[in-house]
């Protein structure tokens, strides 16, 4: 039964070899540059970094992101339903309406509570 796990072990070994190999290669082959101010800065595609990444964001971004996920999942659920729509027939249609209805209540709630107002 363990033969089935061989690809996973293989993937593990390849990823260790790839990651570790690249690191070791650069260590042995790379040019030992003297101390410079670029040594301690993170690599950002060759562009000089501007400011700190850990900034304060308004909490509204997170709120919108969370609400987005909910309705994103709703759409994800609709795909498999759409694929087998004709076979589920009326039952599937009503179940989907119930599902959308529940999410709609959530939508009315966040809309009325003002969670989508930007200022």
């Amino acid at each position: 039964m363990f033969e089935t796990y061989f690809p996973i072990v293989f993937l593990l070994l390849v990823s260790i070899a790839a990651g570790g190999g690249l690191y070791l290669l650069s260590k042995f082959l790379g040019r030992k540059s003297p101390e410079s101010k670029y040594m301690d800065t993170p690599y950002e595609c060759g562009v000089e970094p501007v400011g700190d990444t850990r900034e304060r964001f308004p909490v509204k971004f997170y709120l919108i992101a969370i609400l987005f996920i909910v309705f994103d999942i709703e759409v994800v659920f609709m795909y498999p339903w759409a694929v087998v729509y004709d076979r589920l027939a009326l039952f599937g249609f009503i179940e989907m309406l119930v599902f959308i209805g529940i999410l709609l209540i959530g939508y009315v709630y966040i809309l009325r509570s003002g969670a989508l107002k930007w200022d």
């Binding site: 076979r87 589920l88 529940i102 209540i105 009315v108």
Partner: protein, 484 residues
């Protein structure tokens, strides 16, 4: 190829539909009500709980398995659901004045209480590990939010965050356990786990046990049992008191329900392998809970440790693992729900009189100034300690009897010793209430009537269950017959 549409018995899930439907309705109407009137949604919540209780009671003793065997209602699930609904009913009554006083978002509060109750009911009726998991998540997520519903209070935030992180971690163990059980048996259905175990792979018995142990870790966390109890005092103290009352009874009952279904019903005789784990968990939980409770000066924290100790007593049922033990633990959780919520109801009144202070000192002289309130608190504490003629005594009596019938004499002796230890810290509150008078005047606070209704119900239930236990609880019928 046509898709098989599962047979759905809507009558069997009517209590769940009513609870969930009312939660959604409250969520829908809340934003349309002006902010200072939102506490009226509490009446809607009460209506939902009463409706669900009637629907549950109407379906009593009807054994229905529906949704292609995913969901089952039987004697055990019906009884557990009534306990959850009683707990929610009392907590909603407690919350009426509480939410107004602390300016909590009442609509969201009641809606979340109902959602948590829905999750518990799903856990009690689950006949499949996936359904159980969904129920667990509905309950847990609602409780994470409820713990932090006082947004402006740092302690409430801390409680919510701690509960969420540790709870999510514990849930991970549950899922891992389900994966192992599925791997060992090829099914997540609780009625089949035992049937085909040991046939799939040569070692499936071992993997089934690993899965069971991982499941146990997650559930031991939810019911606040020893090595997974570290979150309990902080979360219980930080959460608003009415939420603590809810958290310390409901999830514990739901965890007990699913533990009984998995380890007594589904695992059958395999449980004998896992029984020593329950033995150790039970003994350590009792000692840790009771010994730590002694050194608490804060009544809310003391009740939190007492809740841990009671989780230890309840674990005894899974060492005994018999039909009687299941009935006994169901009765125990019923008694624990009423006496625990009753004690928290008095704590809420005392807090409202002393600006949210829940130190032992704020109980000083309560029995002299407010004899009825003091007597009620004394009754709940005596019941928690397990002294007759209260509910707590018979709860322990039936549980210990089930253990002795299975020959667990040492465990019973340890449990009785622990009950004696607990008498010290419970009666200390009674001593402070009645033996010491206070100089500071109790401010006359107009008593919130809903809270009083809850208090009266709890007092009557504690007395009734303590005097006529067999009248309210059918011990002659096995609630859940062990499988296999």
């Amino acid at each position: 190829m046509p898709i098989n549409i599962p047979q759905i018995d809507y009558a069997a899930i009517l209590p769940e539909l009513l609870t969930g439907g009312m939660a959604l309705l409250i969520m829908l109407v809340t934003p349309f009500i002006p902010g200072n009137r939102r506490y009226y949604t509490g009446y809607l919540a009460l209506l939902g709980v009463i409706g669900a209780a009637i629907a549950t009671y109407a379906g009593f003793a009807k054994e229905v398995t529906t949704f292609s065997g995913l969901y089952t209602t039987d004697f055990f699930s019906t009884a557990m659901k009534l306990v959850f609904l009683l707990g929610s009913f009392l907590v909603i009554l407690l919350s009426d004045n509480f939410t107004r006083l602390l300016k909590l978002p009442a609509g969201e509060y009641y809606s979340l209480i109902l959602f948590a109750t829905l999750g518990m009911m799903m856990m009690a009726s689950a006949n499949d590990l996936i359904v159980f998991f969904i129920g667990l998540e509905i309950m847990s997520v609602a409780l994470y939010v409820l713990a932090g519903i006082r947004r402006v209070d740092l302690k409430s935030n801390e409680a919510s965050l701690k509960y969420f992180f540790l709870g999510a971690f514990a849930t991970g163990f549950v899922v891992f356990g389900i994966a192992f059980i599925y791997g060992a048996t090829g099914t997540t259905s609780l009625s089949h786990v035992f049937d085909i175990s040991l046939y799939k792979f040569p070692n499936s018995g071992l993997y089934l046990m690993i899965g069971g142990a991982l499941l146990l870790i997650g559930l031991a966390f939810k019911m606040a049992s020893f090595p997974f109890h570290m979150w309990v005092p902080d979360v219980y103290e930080g959460a608003p008191t009415a939420v603590t009352a809810f958290m310390s009874s409901g999830p514990k009952a739901a965890a007990i329900a699913i533990l009984a279904r998995v380890f007594i019903f589904a695992f059958g005789e395999q449980t004998a392998v896992i029984a020593p784990i329950f033995w150790v968990l039970s003994v350590t939980t009792m000692f840790v809970g009771n010994l730590t409770a002694i050194s608490q000066s804060n009544v809310k924290r003391m009740l939190a440790y007492s809740s841990i100790a009671h989780a230890g007593y309840m674990m005894i049922a899974f060492v005994a693992a018999s039909g009687e033990a299941v009935s006994a633990v169901a009765f125990y959780i019923l008694c624990y729900t009423v006496m625990n919520i009753g004690a928290f109801a008095v704590l809420i009144i005392v807090e409202s009189k002393s600006d949210g202070d829940n130190q032992l000192a704020s109980f000083t002289g309560l029995g002299r100034r407010h004899p009825i309130l003091g007597a009620a608190m004394a009754l709940f504490l005596i019941s928690l300690a397990g002294i007759p003629p209260t509910a707590g005594f018979f709860a322990k009596f039936y549980l210990f009897k089930a253990a002795i019938l299975k020959g667990h004499i040492l465990l019973t002796v340890i449990a009785v010793i622990n009950s004696l230890i607990s008498v010290y810290y419970y009666l200390r509150v009674v001593v402070v209430m009645f033996m010491i008078d206070t100089e500071t005047e109790f401010r006359p606070v107009t008593y919130p009537s809903a809270l009083y209704v809850a208090l009266v119900i709890a007092v009557m239930a504690v007395l009734a269950l303590g005097i006529l236990p067999s009248y309210f609880f059918p011990f002659d019928q096995p609630m859940l017959v062990p499988f296999g």
